[in-house]
């Protein structure tokens, strides 16, 4: 029996979708597989995908050679700390942009977003010098501050989009009911925008976790998070592909687990406001 057109195109699209997903996922799979190879197999001219001597040696080497859990803890503190601090600043900012709009609000939002389009290297020297003068180099506090500032425009934008969905009259009703602005935000706005706030928090934890540029430049041994820990395996001593891969896997796994369990929340959060 002949296949009808809609079935045919369904098969083609499914194959395409799997193909593209495979291509995107392949480097991660390769990293994962390499982390179980020996260094010799990792740099072999004829690499094998699955048929090699599987070993956990790289993981034990990496754990023995560097304080993984220190880096992990630094990543946790920096990503969660900067996301929480960011929320404390972004919530009132987004409240005022969503509910006390002026003629310039739109421009202000665009300007904030435009800072995300600048190459960060443009502000590298002033920030480095400020960090040096304020003794913030290689401190978690310094990284929390810089990550907060780097991601603040995205947080304000996301929260602004969420807050715009909340009927203004509900906030006005709370004002009539005796709320101050802080009470209005705390008792009414935050509970209503909780899903949006959660996805903003999650996305920023992920962004801050993955951020490498600033962490590499502003940290050394004490405050270095996992991104700096991975980079330490492409070092003057040479490039150790297998160990680098093992370190990468160990850096990715925590955030991958977080992303996996929160994917529904994240997708909802990112598409919120796009469709009414």
């Amino acid at each position: 029996m002949a296949m009808n057109n809609s079935n045919k195109s369904k098969i083609i699209y499914t194959a395409l979708a799997w193909g593209i997903s495979g291509m995107i996922f392949f480097p991660i799979l390769w990293t994962l597989l390499t982390s179980f190879k020996t260094e010799a197999e990792a740099i072999s001219a004829n690499p094998s995908l699955f048929m090699f001597d599987w070993t956990l040696e790289n993981y034990s080497d990496v754990l023995a050679r560097s304080p993984y859990f220190n880096h992990f803890w630094n990543s946790v503190v920096i990503s969660i700390g900067s996301s929480l601090l960011g929320l404390v600043i972004a919530i009132p900012a987004a409240w005022s942009m969503a509910f006390v709009q002026t003629k310039r609000t739109k421009h202000l939002l665009m300007w904030m977003l435009s800072t995300k389009m600048l190459p960060p290297v443009g502000v590298l020297i002033p920030i480095y010098l400020m960090f040096r003068d304020f003794s913030l180099l290689d401190t978690k506090l310094g990284l929390v501050i810089v990550m907060t500032l780097v991601n603040l425009p995205i947080m304000v934008w996301m929260l602004y989009t969420y807050f715009r969905e909340i009927p203004h009259e509900i906030l006005e009703a709370s004002r009539m009911d005796g709320c101050s602005i802080a009470e209005e935000i705390f008792h009414v706005l935050l509970p209503l925008a909780l899903p949006g706030i959660a996805s903003t928090l999650l996305l920023n934890v992920i962004l801050a976790w993955n951020e490498a540029f600033w962490t590499l430049i502003l940290t050394a041994a004490n405050a270095a998070p996992l991104t700096a820990f991975i980079a330490s395996y492409s070092s003057p001593e040479g490039l150790f592909y297998a160990k680098l891969s093992a370190a990468s896997v160990m850096a990715i796994v925590p955030i991958l687990i977080l992303g996996w369990f929160s994917q529904k929340q994240l997708v909802r959060g990112l598409s919120f406001g796009a469709v009414k």
Partner: protein, 340 residues
Amino acid sequence: MGSITLKQVTKTFGDVNVIKPIDLQIHDGEFIVFVGPSGCGKSTLLRMIAGLEDTTSGNIDIDGQDATNTPPAKRGLAMVFQSYALYPHMSVRNNIAFPLKRAKMPPAEIEAKIASAAKILNLGDYLDRKPGQLSGGQRQRVAIGRAIVRQPSAFLFDEPLSNLDASLRVNMRLEISELHKTLDTTMIYVTHDQVEAMTMADRIAVFNAGVIEQVGTPLELYQTPINRFVAGFIGSPKMNFIEVEAVDGDPTSCVGVRPEHLKVTQDKGLWTGKVGVIEHLGSETFLHIHVDGVGPLTLKADGDCPLKYGDDVNLTAPQNKIMHFDAAGKTLPATPFSGN
């Protein structure tokens, strides 16, 4: 106490004068309705009284105290919004308790007030539900409940019934009127529906383009409208306006006849026309009559009106029911009218 005085109150948004200087005295215990077409400034003025909009100039006094710059929460007023504006994450009980908790009232007293509001508004069975589980009418009752527990000096209603279906609207209209009689508290009610205004108000303020055209009791506005706008706005179906040619010494440029005062006559009458669409409402009939040189006129007849589409009719109206307006739309003293 709940007297509110507006003195030369204005509001501008950018270059637009939304409220031109308004003076109005709202008496304690009065039910006043602000009525007017959309965009006339009635809701803006209500929000200014509530404190949700700044006042550009002038003064708002509440119970003799200047409240122009007082924040909404400190004005002692309660507002019921068109969209109900309930807190969707709280149960009905917590919605009603919210203003009392903010006022740091003891829990026992809060419970007593919730119970009494629930009894007045028949909300007893719904106290533990969320607003999303209630019908439109029930939600509006919760919104009213949240307003009455605060024992405000005045209630502000911003088109509270416009989201409800027609039959529910009639019921809620009665309930709000009944509530006014029970509580004996000042109520300011904004609507664009003149039927709501006529049926509920002690006094009506008719708004048009940022000014109050006339303030008076429903019957005053119906019987002695100050101008053509008020005459056309109050009354349903609306008044028929017939442009007339200027006569020396008579400034009348238009006459108005309400549909209920227009009669079919066997005599020559004042106008001759052809019956168009007929709307039978059972107890009464609306006839749309095409009159050459005048346009369509609406006539309100009895329920068993025998006229049919296409019939020729002569129309007349009692002289004392024909209103005269000058070119600016102002009502003129009645003079005999003998047709176009």
